[in-house]
């Protein structure tokens, strides 16, 4: 469910728009009620006042549920190192996929969705729902292109 809070919410809306089209990957339906959702995408800065609301809605989602933390602000507090901002939602919620960027490009969010789908397919019901961590991709060839 899209927990769109600030600027990343606009990029999430752009991901749902015709050009980037999140429905290609099976996530066409963005329901705003937590009772019908599997994935919560926290997009935007979470401050202390909003943290209670986000946690409440996370608690209202039925199992199995996953969380994508979209953007720098949700993952680590981002560029706002101040008294009002929670420095990362993993201080009060478990997170499955972190997406970097401020805001992440829509292609980045789609990549995160595919990573989550890969992670879920690695989980096994028999083993108690534990999933193997996906190893990071090592670069196999020389980097091409001009240096930045």
């Amino acid at each position: 469910m899209p927990m769109g809070i600030s600027c990343c919410a606009i990029e999430m809306m752009a991901t749902a728009s015709p050009r980037f089209d999140i429905s290609r990957f099976g996530s066409e339906v963005m329901r705003f009620t937590p009772r019908q959702c599997d994935v919560m995408i926290v997009a935007g800065t979470v401050n202390y006042k909003m943290a209670k609301v986000v946690r409440k809605i996370y608690d209202q989602m039925p199992e199995p549920k996953w969380v994508i933390s979209m953007g720098a602000c949700a993952s680590t507090g981002g560029m706002f190192r101040s008294y009002a901002v929670v420095q990362g939602i993993d201080q009060f919620m478990p997170v499955d996929v972190y997406v970097a960027g401020c805001p992440p490009r829509p292609e980045n969010l789609l990549c995160a969705l595919l990573e989550l789908q890969k992670k879920i397919s690695n989980e096994s019901v028999i083993g108690g729902g534990q999933s193997e961590p996906i190893p990071p991709k090592r670069p196999t060839a020389e980097p091409t292109g001009q240096p930045a």
Partner: protein, 161 residues
């Protein structure tokens, strides 16, 4: 009207209320006595030559000096003359109470609430003085200079993990 004419006009009507005026980069700032702010506000709003009817902003400044620590700044605009005016009021830390101007400009309501929330300056006569940004149970005033940037630990609670 030039800036000097505006100051003269207000001084002619209310001479003891004006404590000083200055001009910087073509902006006019007038320092007003704290208890007379409502009368000055009513005059600049209703006088047919001035007509400063749009309240742009009301904010507080923490000067961090021993006496007269806080300053409340009123930024006004006249749709008639198409110019800005700034009124300032100084108030001390021991009794930070300023009369409210919501009777003159109803739009100053939330601005004064924000000044209360961020600095702790009370507005006497305000219809609804509550915190606007921080949660209601927060006990400190964030924009004061002695409040640290990262906040005071345990002043805000997080839900359990």
């Amino acid at each position: 009207m030039t800036n000097a004419e505006i100051v003269d006009r207000i001084k002619a009507q209310l001479p003891e209320s004006i404590l000083g005026s200055e001009e910087f980069r073509n902006d006019l700032t007038i320092l007003v006595r704290k208890d007379d702010i409502v009368r000055v506000a009513e005059f600049v709003k209703s006088d047919p030559d001035l007509l400063f009817d749009l309240v742009i902003d009301v904010c507080g400044v923490d000067l961090y000096q021993p006496e007269q620590r806080f300053e409340v700044v009123y930024n006004l605009y006249s749709l008639n003359m198409k110019r800005y005016l700034r009124l300032k009021v100084r108030v001390g830390e021991d009794n930070p109470v300023v009369p409210t101007v919501t009777s003159v400009w109803p739009g100053a309501n939330w601005h004064e609430r924000e000044t209360w929330d961020m600095f702790g300056i009370k507005f006497a006569g305000h219809p609804d003085l509550r915190r606007i940004y921080m949660p209601e149970e927060f006990e400190h005033f964030p924009l004061r200079k002695d409040f640290p940037l990262m906040g005071i630990p345990d002043s805000l609670s997080l839900p359990r993990r």
